[in-house]
Protein backbone atom coordinates (compact mmCIF):
# COMPACT_ATOMS: atom_id res chain seq x y z
CA UNK A 1 0.00 0.00 0.00
CA UNK A 2 1.32 3.37 -1.00
CA UNK A 3 -0.37 6.43 0.52
CA UNK A 4 0.67 8.74 -2.31
CA UNK A 5 -0.95 6.51 -4.90
CA UNK A 6 -4.10 6.11 -2.79
CA UNK A 7 -4.34 9.89 -2.44
CA UNK A 8 -3.89 10.33 -6.20
CA UNK A 9 -6.69 7.83 -6.84
CA UNK A 10 -8.86 9.43 -4.15
CA UNK A 11 -8.37 12.85 -5.71
CA UNK A 12 -9.59 11.52 -9.04
CA UNK A 13 -12.63 9.93 -7.39
CA UNK A 14 -13.41 13.18 -5.59
CA UNK A 15 -13.02 15.30 -8.75
CA UNK A 16 -15.01 12.95 -10.95
CA UNK A 17 -17.52 11.90 -8.29
CA UNK A 18 -19.81 14.95 -8.30
CA UNK A 19 -20.42 14.39 -12.03
CA UNK A 20 -21.71 10.91 -11.25
CA UNK A 21 -25.50 10.77 -10.73
CA UNK A 22 -25.10 8.19 -7.96
CA UNK A 23 -22.93 10.66 -6.08
CA UNK A 24 -25.68 13.26 -6.37
CA UNK A 25 -28.38 10.68 -5.56
CA UNK A 26 -26.52 9.67 -2.38
CA UNK A 27 -26.61 13.21 -1.09
CA UNK A 28 -29.77 14.66 -2.56
CA UNK A 29 -32.32 11.88 -1.94
CA UNK A 30 -31.84 11.29 1.82
CA UNK A 31 -31.42 14.98 2.54
CA UNK A 32 -34.38 15.87 0.31
CA UNK A 33 -36.54 13.24 1.99
CA UNK A 34 -35.47 14.47 5.41
CA UNK A 35 -36.43 18.01 4.48
CA UNK A 36 -39.76 16.78 3.13
CA UNK A 37 -40.47 14.77 6.28
CA UNK A 38 -39.48 17.74 8.41
CA UNK A 39 -41.96 19.87 6.52
CA UNK A 40 -44.70 17.24 6.64
CA UNK A 41 -44.34 16.53 10.35
CA UNK A 42 -43.56 20.13 11.24
CA UNK A 43 -40.32 19.48 13.10
CA UNK A 44 -38.46 22.20 11.21
CA UNK A 45 -40.72 24.87 12.52
CA UNK A 46 -41.26 23.32 15.93
CA UNK A 47 -39.33 26.18 17.44
CA UNK A 48 -38.44 26.14 21.13
CA UNK A 49 -39.22 23.25 23.49
CA UNK A 50 -42.46 23.85 25.42
CA UNK A 51 -42.63 23.35 29.17
CA UNK A 52 -45.88 23.37 31.16
CA UNK A 53 -45.74 24.04 34.90
CA UNK A 54 -48.18 23.64 37.76
CA UNK A 55 -46.68 25.58 40.63
CA UNK A 56 -48.62 25.60 43.90
CA UNK A 57 -45.98 27.49 45.89
CA UNK A 58 -44.34 30.11 43.68
CA UNK A 59 -41.20 28.01 43.29
CA UNK A 60 -37.80 29.40 42.36
CA UNK A 61 -37.71 26.68 39.68
CA UNK A 62 -40.60 28.38 37.85
CA UNK A 63 -38.79 31.73 37.96
CA UNK A 64 -35.63 30.14 36.54
CA UNK A 65 -37.66 28.43 33.81
CA UNK A 66 -39.44 31.62 32.81
CA UNK A 67 -36.12 33.45 32.67
CA UNK A 68 -34.76 30.99 30.14
CA UNK A 69 -35.11 32.47 26.63
CA UNK A 70 -34.71 29.15 24.81
CA UNK A 71 -37.90 27.69 26.38
CA UNK A 72 -41.58 28.43 26.01
CA UNK A 73 -43.10 28.16 29.51
CA UNK A 74 -46.83 27.88 30.12
CA UNK A 75 -48.43 27.85 33.56
CA UNK A 76 -51.38 25.65 34.38
CA UNK A 77 -53.73 25.94 37.33
CA UNK A 78 -54.04 22.22 38.07
CA UNK A 79 -52.28 18.94 37.51
CA UNK A 80 -55.29 17.68 35.56
CA UNK A 81 -55.04 20.58 33.12
CA UNK A 82 -51.33 19.99 32.73
CA UNK A 83 -51.83 16.27 32.06
CA UNK A 84 -54.45 17.10 29.46
CA UNK A 85 -52.20 19.68 27.75
CA UNK A 86 -49.26 17.26 27.73
CA UNK A 87 -51.33 14.38 26.39
CA UNK A 88 -52.54 16.62 23.54
CA UNK A 89 -49.01 17.82 22.76
CA UNK A 90 -49.63 21.45 23.74
CA UNK A 91 -46.42 21.18 25.77
CA UNK A 92 -43.55 18.72 25.36
CA UNK A 93 -42.95 18.29 29.06
CA UNK A 94 -45.15 19.07 32.08
CA UNK A 95 -43.71 19.76 35.54
CA UNK A 96 -45.66 19.57 38.83
CA UNK A 97 -44.13 21.51 41.72
CA UNK A 98 -45.67 20.96 45.13
CA UNK A 99 -46.30 23.98 47.43
CA UNK A 100 -43.41 23.04 49.75
CA UNK A 101 -41.06 21.88 47.01
CA UNK A 102 -38.41 24.63 47.47
CA UNK A 103 -38.45 24.27 51.28
CA UNK A 104 -37.93 20.50 51.09
CA UNK A 105 -35.04 20.89 48.67
CA UNK A 106 -33.42 23.69 50.67
CA UNK A 107 -33.74 21.72 53.92
CA UNK A 108 -32.11 18.77 52.13
CA UNK A 109 -35.16 16.60 52.62
CA UNK A 110 -35.79 14.21 49.83
CA UNK A 111 -38.49 15.39 47.50
CA UNK A 112 -40.20 14.10 44.43
CA UNK A 113 -40.95 15.84 41.19
CA UNK A 114 -43.69 14.71 38.86
CA UNK A 115 -42.87 15.09 35.19
CA UNK A 116 -45.21 14.35 32.27
CA UNK A 117 -43.72 13.81 28.83
CA UNK A 118 -45.66 14.02 25.59
CA UNK A 119 -44.99 10.68 23.81
CA UNK A 120 -44.46 12.28 20.41
CA UNK A 121 -42.18 15.09 21.55
CA UNK A 122 -38.75 15.25 19.94
CA UNK A 123 -35.90 13.62 21.79
CA UNK A 124 -33.95 16.86 21.33
CA UNK A 125 -36.65 18.81 23.22
CA UNK A 126 -36.89 16.24 26.00
CA UNK A 127 -33.13 16.27 26.49
CA UNK A 128 -33.05 20.08 26.57
CA UNK A 129 -35.80 20.37 29.15
CA UNK A 130 -34.43 17.48 31.20
CA UNK A 131 -30.99 19.07 31.35
CA UNK A 132 -32.50 22.43 32.25
CA UNK A 133 -34.55 20.95 35.13
CA UNK A 134 -31.43 19.29 36.55
CA UNK A 135 -29.60 22.65 36.38
CA UNK A 136 -32.43 24.56 38.10
CA UNK A 137 -32.59 22.03 40.93
CA UNK A 138 -28.84 22.26 41.39
CA UNK A 139 -29.04 26.06 41.48
CA UNK A 140 -31.92 25.96 43.95
CA UNK A 141 -30.25 23.49 46.30
CA UNK A 142 -26.67 24.72 45.89
CA UNK A 143 -25.61 21.09 45.51
CA UNK A 144 -26.84 17.88 43.94
CA UNK A 145 -30.50 17.87 45.11
CA UNK A 146 -32.08 14.79 46.76
CA UNK A 147 -34.98 14.78 44.33
CA UNK A 148 -36.56 11.78 42.68
CA UNK A 149 -38.07 12.49 39.31
CA UNK A 150 -41.15 10.47 38.45
CA UNK A 151 -41.73 10.49 34.71
CA UNK A 152 -45.02 9.61 33.06
CA UNK A 153 -45.40 9.34 29.31
CA UNK A 154 -48.65 10.74 27.97
CA UNK A 155 -50.33 10.73 24.58
CA UNK A 156 -49.07 8.29 21.97
CA UNK A 157 -46.39 7.22 24.39
CA UNK A 158 -46.10 3.64 23.19
CA UNK A 159 -45.80 4.45 19.54
CA UNK A 160 -43.11 6.11 17.53
CA UNK A 161 -44.00 8.98 15.25
CA UNK A 162 -43.95 8.31 11.52
CA UNK A 163 -40.85 10.43 11.23
CA UNK A 164 -39.14 8.27 13.85
CA UNK A 165 -40.31 5.12 12.10
CA UNK A 166 -38.98 6.35 8.79
CA UNK A 167 -35.59 7.19 10.25
CA UNK A 168 -34.13 3.64 9.88
CA UNK A 169 -35.07 3.71 6.20
CA UNK A 170 -33.38 7.07 5.71
CA UNK A 171 -30.26 5.93 7.55
CA UNK A 172 -30.11 2.71 5.54
CA UNK A 173 -30.70 4.55 2.28
CA UNK A 174 -27.83 6.87 3.04
CA UNK A 175 -25.34 4.38 4.39
CA UNK A 176 -26.14 1.37 2.23
CA UNK A 177 -26.88 3.14 -1.01
CA UNK A 178 -24.03 5.64 -0.77
CA UNK A 179 -21.28 3.42 0.56
CA UNK A 180 -22.33 0.45 -1.60
CA UNK A 181 -23.25 2.07 -4.89
CA UNK A 182 -20.48 4.65 -5.11
CA UNK A 183 -17.57 2.18 -5.14
CA UNK A 184 -19.55 -0.44 -7.07
CA UNK A 185 -20.63 1.90 -9.86
CA UNK A 186 -17.22 3.55 -10.02
CA UNK A 187 -15.51 0.18 -10.41
CA UNK A 188 -17.99 -1.05 -13.03
CA UNK A 189 -17.65 2.23 -14.92
CA UNK A 190 -13.84 1.87 -14.90
CA UNK A 191 -14.27 -1.59 -16.40
CA UNK A 192 -16.72 -0.40 -19.03
CA UNK A 193 -14.50 2.50 -20.05
CA UNK A 194 -11.41 0.26 -19.83
CA UNK A 195 -9.66 2.76 -17.55
CA UNK A 196 -9.17 0.00 -14.97
CA UNK A 197 -6.81 -1.76 -17.39
CA UNK A 198 -4.81 1.45 -17.68
CA UNK A 199 -4.55 1.74 -13.89
CA UNK A 200 -3.57 -1.90 -13.50
CA UNK A 201 -0.46 -1.57 -15.68
CA UNK A 202 0.90 1.10 -13.34
CA UNK A 203 2.43 0.41 -9.92
CA UNK A 204 -1.06 0.93 -8.40
CA UNK A 205 -2.39 -2.33 -6.95
CA UNK A 206 -5.97 -3.57 -7.01
CA UNK A 207 -6.09 -3.14 -3.24
CA UNK A 208 -5.12 0.54 -3.55
CA UNK A 209 -7.72 1.12 -6.26
CA UNK A 210 -10.45 -0.59 -4.21
CA UNK A 211 -9.45 1.29 -1.07
CA UNK A 212 -9.66 4.69 -2.77
CA UNK A 213 -13.13 3.87 -4.08
CA UNK A 214 -14.24 2.55 -0.70
CA UNK A 215 -12.99 5.58 1.22
CA UNK A 216 -14.93 8.05 -0.91
CA UNK A 217 -18.14 6.03 -0.43
CA UNK A 218 -17.60 5.65 3.31
CA UNK A 219 -16.79 9.34 3.87
CA UNK A 220 -19.69 10.65 1.84
CA UNK A 221 -22.32 8.31 3.25
CA UNK A 222 -21.19 8.77 6.86
CA UNK A 223 -21.33 12.57 6.64
CA UNK A 224 -24.68 12.48 4.81
CA UNK A 225 -26.09 10.08 7.43
CA UNK A 226 -25.07 12.48 10.22
CA UNK A 227 -26.84 15.30 8.38
CA UNK A 228 -29.92 13.10 7.95
CA UNK A 229 -29.99 12.42 11.70
CA UNK A 230 -29.62 16.12 12.45
CA UNK A 231 -32.38 17.06 10.01
CA UNK A 232 -34.69 14.50 11.60
CA UNK A 233 -34.16 15.84 15.09
CA UNK A 234 -32.27 12.70 16.08
CA UNK A 235 -29.01 14.30 17.05
CA UNK A 236 -27.59 12.49 20.04
CA UNK A 237 -25.26 13.63 22.79
CA UNK A 238 -23.35 10.39 22.10
CA UNK A 239 -22.37 11.60 18.68
CA UNK A 240 -19.03 9.76 18.62
CA UNK A 241 -20.79 6.48 19.23
CA UNK A 242 -23.27 7.24 16.45
CA UNK A 243 -20.35 8.15 14.19
CA UNK A 244 -18.60 4.85 15.02
CA UNK A 245 -21.68 2.79 14.13
CA UNK A 246 -22.29 4.74 10.93
CA UNK A 247 -18.64 4.33 9.97
CA UNK A 248 -18.67 0.57 10.55
CA UNK A 249 -21.94 0.28 8.62
CA UNK A 250 -20.44 2.26 5.76
CA UNK A 251 -17.32 0.06 5.76
CA UNK A 252 -19.47 -3.08 5.48
CA UNK A 253 -21.53 -1.53 2.68
CA UNK A 254 -18.42 -0.33 0.83
CA UNK A 255 -16.87 -3.81 1.01
CA UNK A 256 -20.04 -5.30 -0.41
CA UNK A 257 -20.10 -2.60 -3.11
CA UNK A 258 -16.52 -3.34 -4.13
CA UNK A 259 -17.31 -7.06 -4.25
CA UNK A 260 -20.24 -6.35 -6.58
CA UNK A 261 -18.05 -4.03 -8.65
CA UNK A 262 -15.44 -6.74 -9.06
CA UNK A 263 -17.96 -9.42 -10.03
CA UNK A 264 -20.26 -7.37 -12.28
CA UNK A 265 -19.16 -6.01 -15.65
CA UNK A 266 -21.80 -3.50 -16.68
CA UNK A 267 -23.84 -0.81 -15.00
CA UNK A 268 -27.23 -2.24 -16.00
CA UNK A 269 -26.43 -5.58 -14.38
CA UNK A 270 -25.24 -3.75 -11.28
CA UNK A 271 -28.53 -1.86 -10.96
CA UNK A 272 -30.52 -5.03 -11.62
CA UNK A 273 -28.57 -6.87 -8.91
CA UNK A 274 -28.97 -4.10 -6.34
CA UNK A 275 -32.66 -3.83 -7.21
CA UNK A 276 -33.06 -7.58 -6.73
CA UNK A 277 -31.33 -7.37 -3.36
CA UNK A 278 -33.28 -4.27 -2.30
CA UNK A 279 -35.62 -6.17 -0.02
CA UNK A 280 -32.72 -7.87 1.75
CA UNK A 281 -30.86 -4.59 2.22
CA UNK A 282 -33.80 -2.51 3.39
CA UNK A 283 -35.83 -5.19 5.20
CA UNK A 284 -34.92 -4.03 8.74
CA UNK A 285 -36.13 -0.52 7.94
CA UNK A 286 -39.32 -1.78 6.31
CA UNK A 287 -40.07 -3.99 9.30
CA UNK A 288 -39.53 -1.02 11.64
CA UNK A 289 -42.15 0.90 9.66
CA UNK A 290 -44.85 -1.56 10.68
CA UNK A 291 -44.80 -2.39 14.41
CA UNK A 292 -47.45 -5.05 13.79
CA UNK A 293 -44.73 -7.23 12.22
CA UNK A 294 -42.69 -9.14 14.85
CA UNK A 295 -39.58 -6.97 15.11
CA UNK A 296 -37.22 -9.90 15.80
CA UNK A 297 -37.51 -10.84 12.10
CA UNK A 298 -35.34 -7.82 11.28
CA UNK A 299 -32.41 -9.47 13.05
CA UNK A 300 -32.14 -12.02 10.24
CA UNK A 301 -30.91 -9.34 7.88
CA UNK A 302 -27.28 -8.14 7.97
CA UNK A 303 -28.18 -4.46 7.64
CA UNK A 304 -30.12 -4.69 10.91
CA UNK A 305 -26.78 -4.65 12.75
CA UNK A 306 -25.82 -1.30 11.29
CA UNK A 307 -29.16 0.50 11.56
CA UNK A 308 -30.52 -0.79 14.85
CA UNK A 309 -27.61 0.48 16.97
CA UNK A 310 -27.96 3.94 15.42
CA UNK A 311 -31.68 4.05 16.15
CA UNK A 312 -31.10 2.64 19.63
CA UNK A 313 -28.69 5.47 20.41
CA UNK A 314 -30.65 8.35 18.91
CA UNK A 315 -34.17 7.26 19.88
CA UNK A 316 -33.69 5.19 23.00
CA UNK A 317 -30.47 6.67 24.40
CA UNK A 318 -28.55 3.37 24.24
CA UNK A 319 -24.92 3.30 25.34
CA UNK A 320 -21.89 1.40 24.03
CA UNK A 321 -22.53 -1.56 26.33
CA UNK A 322 -26.13 -1.78 25.08
CA UNK A 323 -25.06 -2.09 21.44
CA UNK A 324 -21.79 -3.98 21.90
CA UNK A 325 -23.35 -7.25 20.69
CA UNK A 326 -24.61 -5.65 17.49
CA UNK A 327 -21.23 -4.03 16.89
CA UNK A 328 -19.52 -7.40 17.33
CA UNK A 329 -21.77 -8.94 14.66
CA UNK A 330 -21.01 -5.96 12.41
CA UNK A 331 -17.28 -6.49 13.00
CA UNK A 332 -17.49 -10.19 12.13
CA UNK A 333 -19.32 -9.38 8.88
CA UNK A 334 -16.68 -6.76 7.99
CA UNK A 335 -13.86 -9.26 8.51
CA UNK A 336 -15.70 -11.98 6.55
CA UNK A 337 -16.35 -9.67 3.58
CA UNK A 338 -12.72 -8.48 3.64
CA UNK A 339 -11.70 -12.14 3.35
CA UNK A 340 -14.09 -12.68 0.44
CA UNK A 341 -12.71 -9.59 -1.29
CA UNK A 342 -9.18 -10.86 -0.88
CA UNK A 343 -10.08 -14.17 -2.53
CA UNK A 344 -11.85 -12.44 -5.42
CA UNK A 345 -8.93 -10.03 -5.89
CA UNK A 346 -6.43 -12.92 -6.08
CA UNK A 347 -8.60 -14.63 -8.70
CA UNK A 348 -8.90 -11.47 -10.82
CA UNK A 349 -5.10 -11.26 -11.18
CA UNK A 350 -4.93 -14.63 -12.87
CA UNK A 351 -8.07 -14.21 -14.97
Amino acid sequence: MNLRRILALLYREAVQGPKNFIFIFTIVVPLGLSLALGLIFGTFFSGKPRLGIVDAGNSRVTQLAEAMPSLIVRRYASEAELRDATAKGVVDVGLVLAADFDQRVLSAQSGSLTVYVWGESLLRDRVLIGTAIADWLRELAGHEPPVTIETTMLGANNELTWQQRLLPLLVLMTVVFGALMLPASSLVSEKQHRTLSALLVTPATRAEIYLAKGVIGIALSTVTALLVLALNGAWSNQIWLVLLVLFLGAVLSAEFGILLGVLINDINSLFATVKAMGLLLYAPALIALFPIIPQWIAQIFPTFYMVDPVIAIVQRGATLSDIAGHLAVLGVMIVALAGALRVVRERSVGA
Binding site: R5, L7, L9, R194, S197, A198, P203
Partner: protein, 287 residues
Protein backbone atom coordinates in the same frame (compact mmCIF):
# COMPACT_ATOMS: atom_id res chain seq x y z
CA UNK B 1 26.30 -7.43 -23.00
CA UNK B 2 23.08 -6.32 -21.30
CA UNK B 3 20.35 -8.90 -20.84
CA UNK B 4 17.51 -8.71 -23.37
CA UNK B 5 14.65 -6.33 -22.62
CA UNK B 6 12.06 -9.07 -23.16
CA UNK B 7 12.45 -12.82 -22.90
CA UNK B 8 9.41 -15.02 -23.55
CA UNK B 9 9.92 -18.69 -22.76
CA UNK B 10 7.26 -21.16 -23.88
CA UNK B 11 4.50 -18.69 -23.02
CA UNK B 12 1.10 -20.36 -23.08
CA UNK B 13 -2.43 -19.16 -22.32
CA UNK B 14 -5.82 -20.84 -22.57
CA UNK B 15 -9.33 -19.39 -22.56
CA UNK B 16 -11.20 -22.50 -21.48
CA UNK B 17 -10.56 -25.09 -24.20
CA UNK B 18 -9.15 -22.55 -26.63
CA UNK B 19 -5.36 -22.44 -26.76
CA UNK B 20 -4.88 -18.71 -27.39
CA UNK B 21 -1.09 -18.64 -27.11
CA UNK B 22 0.77 -21.84 -27.82
CA UNK B 23 4.24 -22.16 -26.26
CA UNK B 24 5.81 -19.11 -27.90
CA UNK B 25 9.40 -18.11 -27.26
CA UNK B 26 11.32 -15.05 -28.41
CA UNK B 27 13.59 -12.30 -27.16
CA UNK B 28 13.68 -8.57 -27.80
CA UNK B 29 16.99 -6.77 -27.37
CA UNK B 30 17.30 -3.46 -25.57
CA UNK B 31 16.64 -0.48 -27.82
CA UNK B 32 15.00 -2.68 -30.46
CA UNK B 33 11.61 -2.12 -32.07
CA UNK B 34 9.83 -5.43 -32.52
CA UNK B 35 6.73 -5.51 -34.69
CA UNK B 36 4.18 -8.10 -33.59
CA UNK B 37 1.93 -8.89 -36.52
CA UNK B 38 -1.00 -11.16 -36.89
CA UNK B 39 -4.68 -11.28 -37.79
CA UNK B 40 -7.46 -10.71 -35.23
CA UNK B 41 -7.66 -13.59 -32.78
CA UNK B 42 -4.10 -14.75 -33.47
CA UNK B 43 -3.03 -14.24 -29.85
CA UNK B 44 -1.33 -10.83 -30.08
CA UNK B 45 -3.31 -9.12 -27.29
CA UNK B 46 -3.11 -12.15 -25.01
CA UNK B 47 0.67 -12.22 -25.45
CA UNK B 48 0.91 -8.50 -24.64
CA UNK B 49 -1.30 -8.99 -21.58
CA UNK B 50 1.02 -11.73 -20.32
CA UNK B 51 4.10 -9.63 -21.00
CA UNK B 52 2.63 -6.61 -19.17
CA UNK B 53 1.43 -8.56 -16.14
CA UNK B 54 -2.28 -8.29 -16.89
CA UNK B 55 -2.63 -12.05 -17.33
CA UNK B 56 -0.78 -14.87 -15.63
CA UNK B 57 0.51 -17.45 -18.17
CA UNK B 58 -0.88 -20.98 -17.97
CA UNK B 59 2.71 -22.13 -18.45
CA UNK B 60 6.06 -20.71 -19.48
CA UNK B 61 7.38 -17.39 -18.26
CA UNK B 62 8.16 -13.87 -19.34
CA UNK B 63 11.14 -11.88 -18.14
CA UNK B 64 11.17 -8.13 -18.66
CA UNK B 65 14.47 -6.39 -17.87
CA UNK B 66 15.43 -9.61 -16.11
CA UNK B 67 12.36 -9.60 -13.83
CA UNK B 68 9.81 -12.42 -13.83
CA UNK B 69 6.55 -10.69 -14.77
CA UNK B 70 4.19 -13.20 -13.15
CA UNK B 71 6.07 -13.07 -9.84
CA UNK B 72 6.73 -9.33 -9.66
CA UNK B 73 4.18 -7.63 -11.92
CA UNK B 74 4.28 -4.29 -10.11
CA UNK B 75 8.07 -4.08 -10.29
CA UNK B 76 7.85 -4.62 -14.02
CA UNK B 77 4.91 -2.26 -14.49
CA UNK B 78 6.84 0.55 -12.81
CA UNK B 79 9.31 0.39 -15.71
CA UNK B 80 7.04 -0.05 -18.70
CA UNK B 81 4.58 2.11 -20.58
CA UNK B 82 1.49 0.66 -22.21
CA UNK B 83 -0.59 2.32 -24.91
CA UNK B 84 -3.83 0.45 -25.53
CA UNK B 85 -5.60 0.05 -28.84
CA UNK B 86 -8.94 1.40 -27.59
CA UNK B 87 -9.01 4.82 -25.92
CA UNK B 88 -9.18 4.36 -22.15
CA UNK B 89 -8.72 7.83 -20.76
CA UNK B 90 -10.73 9.62 -18.08
CA UNK B 91 -12.97 11.66 -20.37
CA UNK B 92 -14.32 13.90 -17.60
CA UNK B 93 -10.79 15.02 -16.74
CA UNK B 94 -8.57 17.32 -18.77
CA UNK B 95 -5.56 16.02 -20.69
CA UNK B 96 -3.25 17.52 -18.06
CA UNK B 97 -5.20 15.91 -15.19
CA UNK B 98 -5.06 12.53 -16.94
CA UNK B 99 -1.29 12.78 -17.24
CA UNK B 100 -0.88 14.14 -13.72
CA UNK B 101 -2.87 11.21 -12.26
CA UNK B 102 -0.63 8.67 -13.97
CA UNK B 103 2.53 10.63 -13.13
CA UNK B 104 1.47 10.44 -9.47
CA UNK B 105 0.79 6.71 -9.72
CA UNK B 106 4.29 6.23 -11.13
CA UNK B 107 5.70 8.67 -8.59
CA UNK B 108 7.20 10.53 -11.57
CA UNK B 109 7.58 13.86 -9.80
CA UNK B 110 9.98 15.46 -12.27
CA UNK B 111 7.90 14.80 -15.38
CA UNK B 112 7.22 17.93 -17.47
CA UNK B 113 3.61 17.42 -18.50
CA UNK B 114 3.56 20.40 -20.85
CA UNK B 115 6.67 19.14 -22.62
CA UNK B 116 5.03 15.73 -23.01
CA UNK B 117 1.93 17.34 -24.50
CA UNK B 118 4.14 19.34 -26.88
CA UNK B 119 5.90 16.15 -28.02
CA UNK B 120 2.61 14.59 -29.09
CA UNK B 121 1.28 17.79 -30.63
CA UNK B 122 -1.28 18.59 -27.93
CA UNK B 123 0.25 21.82 -26.61
CA UNK B 124 -2.46 24.35 -25.90
CA UNK B 125 -5.13 21.62 -25.57
CA UNK B 126 -4.03 20.12 -22.26
CA UNK B 127 -6.65 22.02 -20.27
CA UNK B 128 -9.54 20.75 -22.40
CA UNK B 129 -11.67 17.86 -21.22
CA UNK B 130 -10.61 14.64 -22.93
CA UNK B 131 -14.23 13.94 -23.83
CA UNK B 132 -13.95 16.80 -26.32
CA UNK B 133 -10.82 15.40 -28.00
CA UNK B 134 -10.89 13.82 -31.47
CA UNK B 135 -9.82 10.18 -31.85
CA UNK B 136 -6.36 11.26 -33.02
CA UNK B 137 -5.91 13.57 -30.04
CA UNK B 138 -6.96 10.82 -27.64
CA UNK B 139 -4.49 8.43 -29.24
CA UNK B 140 -1.72 10.99 -28.91
CA UNK B 141 -2.64 11.61 -25.26
CA UNK B 142 -2.48 7.86 -24.62
CA UNK B 143 1.03 7.83 -26.08
CA UNK B 144 1.94 10.73 -23.78
CA UNK B 145 0.45 8.83 -20.83
CA UNK B 146 2.56 5.78 -21.67
CA UNK B 147 5.65 8.00 -21.52
CA UNK B 148 5.10 9.72 -18.14
CA UNK B 149 7.49 7.36 -16.35
CA UNK B 150 10.19 7.40 -19.11
CA UNK B 151 9.65 3.66 -19.60
CA UNK B 152 12.41 1.21 -20.44
CA UNK B 153 9.95 -0.79 -22.51
CA UNK B 154 7.02 0.66 -24.40
CA UNK B 155 4.10 -1.54 -25.48
CA UNK B 156 2.09 0.04 -28.26
CA UNK B 157 -1.08 -1.64 -29.50
CA UNK B 158 -2.14 -0.36 -32.95
CA UNK B 159 -1.00 3.17 -32.07
CA UNK B 160 -1.87 4.67 -35.47
CA UNK B 161 -5.00 2.67 -36.33
CA UNK B 162 -7.69 4.85 -37.90
CA UNK B 163 -5.73 8.07 -37.52
CA UNK B 164 -5.28 10.82 -40.07
CA UNK B 165 -1.83 10.89 -41.74
CA UNK B 166 -0.63 13.85 -39.65
CA UNK B 167 -1.52 12.21 -36.32
CA UNK B 168 -0.06 8.88 -37.47
CA UNK B 169 3.17 10.55 -38.52
CA UNK B 170 3.41 12.41 -35.19
CA UNK B 171 3.10 9.10 -33.35
CA UNK B 172 5.71 7.38 -35.55
CA UNK B 173 8.09 10.25 -34.87
CA UNK B 174 7.63 9.82 -31.09
CA UNK B 175 8.26 6.06 -31.43
CA UNK B 176 11.57 6.69 -33.17
CA UNK B 177 12.53 9.35 -30.58
CA UNK B 178 11.84 6.85 -27.80
CA UNK B 179 14.04 4.29 -29.52
CA UNK B 180 16.81 6.88 -29.76
CA UNK B 181 16.41 7.51 -26.03
CA UNK B 182 17.14 3.84 -25.49
CA UNK B 183 13.66 2.45 -24.95
CA UNK B 184 12.66 -0.95 -26.28
CA UNK B 185 9.42 -0.91 -28.24
CA UNK B 186 6.96 -3.77 -28.66
CA UNK B 187 4.69 -2.66 -31.47
CA UNK B 188 1.51 -4.54 -32.27
CA UNK B 189 0.16 -3.48 -35.63
CA UNK B 190 -1.77 -4.45 -38.72
CA UNK B 191 -0.05 -1.75 -40.74
CA UNK B 192 2.62 -3.41 -42.88
CA UNK B 193 3.98 -0.10 -44.08
CA UNK B 194 4.43 1.01 -40.49
CA UNK B 195 6.05 -2.27 -39.46
CA UNK B 196 8.39 -2.19 -42.45
CA UNK B 197 9.37 1.38 -41.78
CA UNK B 198 9.77 1.34 -37.99
CA UNK B 199 10.65 -2.16 -36.88
CA UNK B 200 14.09 -3.68 -36.55
CA UNK B 201 12.45 -7.10 -36.56
CA UNK B 202 8.94 -8.39 -37.03
CA UNK B 203 7.26 -11.48 -35.61
CA UNK B 204 4.28 -13.09 -37.34
CA UNK B 205 1.85 -14.80 -35.01
CA UNK B 206 -0.92 -17.05 -36.24
CA UNK B 207 -3.23 -19.34 -34.24
CA UNK B 208 -1.17 -18.66 -31.12
CA UNK B 209 2.17 -19.59 -32.66
CA UNK B 210 5.02 -17.49 -33.99
CA UNK B 211 5.42 -18.56 -37.60
CA UNK B 212 8.32 -16.24 -38.53
CA UNK B 213 10.57 -13.75 -36.75
CA UNK B 214 13.28 -11.78 -38.50
CA UNK B 215 14.14 -8.38 -39.97
CA UNK B 216 11.74 -7.19 -42.67
CA UNK B 217 14.59 -7.37 -45.17
CA UNK B 218 15.48 -10.96 -44.34
CA UNK B 219 11.84 -12.03 -44.40
CA UNK B 220 11.41 -10.56 -47.86
CA UNK B 221 14.60 -12.23 -48.99
CA UNK B 222 13.58 -15.55 -47.54
CA UNK B 223 9.91 -15.70 -48.42
CA UNK B 224 9.23 -12.99 -50.99
CA UNK B 225 9.19 -13.12 -54.81
CA UNK B 226 10.69 -10.24 -56.75
CA UNK B 227 8.99 -9.67 -60.07
CA UNK B 228 8.53 -7.34 -62.98
CA UNK B 229 4.99 -6.27 -63.76
CA UNK B 230 4.32 -4.90 -67.26
CA UNK B 231 1.26 -3.47 -68.96
CA UNK B 232 1.23 -4.33 -72.65
CA UNK B 233 -1.16 -3.65 -75.54
CA UNK B 234 -2.98 -6.81 -76.51
CA UNK B 235 -4.01 -7.96 -80.02
CA UNK B 236 -7.40 -6.25 -79.73
CA UNK B 237 -5.88 -3.04 -78.38
CA UNK B 238 -6.83 -3.72 -74.73
CA UNK B 239 -4.23 -3.41 -71.94
CA UNK B 240 -2.94 -6.70 -70.55
CA UNK B 241 -0.83 -7.29 -67.45
CA UNK B 242 2.19 -9.58 -67.54
CA UNK B 243 4.22 -10.65 -64.52
CA UNK B 244 7.74 -12.07 -64.79
CA UNK B 245 9.25 -13.54 -61.65
CA UNK B 246 12.88 -12.51 -61.15
CA UNK B 247 15.85 -14.55 -59.91
CA UNK B 248 15.21 -17.54 -62.24
CA UNK B 249 17.48 -18.78 -65.08
CA UNK B 250 14.84 -18.09 -67.72
CA UNK B 251 14.07 -14.55 -66.48
CA UNK B 252 16.49 -12.63 -68.80
CA UNK B 253 15.07 -14.37 -71.88
CA UNK B 254 11.51 -13.67 -70.85
CA UNK B 255 12.24 -9.95 -70.34
CA UNK B 256 14.07 -9.73 -73.66
CA UNK B 257 11.12 -11.40 -75.37
CA UNK B 258 8.67 -9.00 -73.73
CA UNK B 259 10.59 -5.92 -74.85
CA UNK B 260 11.20 -7.28 -78.37
CA UNK B 261 7.73 -8.53 -79.22
CA UNK B 262 5.22 -6.62 -77.11
CA UNK B 263 4.16 -3.00 -77.04
CA UNK B 264 5.05 -2.18 -73.42
CA UNK B 265 3.06 0.69 -71.87
CA UNK B 266 4.35 0.52 -68.25
CA UNK B 267 7.09 -1.53 -66.61
CA UNK B 268 7.64 -1.79 -62.81
CA UNK B 269 9.79 -3.95 -60.60
CA UNK B 270 7.92 -5.20 -57.51
CA UNK B 271 9.13 -6.41 -54.12
CA UNK B 272 7.14 -8.73 -51.90
CA UNK B 273 5.35 -6.96 -49.03
CA UNK B 274 5.20 -8.26 -45.49
CA UNK B 275 1.52 -8.96 -46.07
CA UNK B 276 2.35 -11.15 -49.10
CA UNK B 277 4.78 -13.04 -46.92
CA UNK B 278 2.26 -13.42 -44.14
CA UNK B 279 -0.35 -14.78 -46.56
CA UNK B 280 2.20 -17.17 -47.96
CA UNK B 281 3.14 -18.37 -44.48
CA UNK B 282 -0.32 -18.72 -43.05
CA UNK B 283 -2.73 -18.86 -45.95
CA UNK B 284 -4.73 -15.97 -44.48
CA UNK B 285 -4.62 -12.18 -44.55
CA UNK B 286 -3.86 -9.84 -41.68
CA UNK B 287 -7.22 -8.10 -41.50
Amino acid sequence: MPEPAIVAEELTYRYGDLLAVDHISFTVERGEILGFLGPNGAGKSTTVKMLTGQLRPASGRALLLGIDVARYPKRVQARIGVCFEQPNLYEELSGVDNLRLFANLFNARDVDINALLRRVGLDGRGGDLVGRYSKGMKQRLMIARALVNRPDILFLDEPTEGLDPTSAEAIRRVILEEQQRGATIFLTTHDMYEADRLCNRVAFINSGKIVALDTPHNLKQQYGKRMVRAEVVGPDGALLTREIVLDRPETPAEIADLLAHQQVVTLHSEEATLEDIFIRLTGRGLA
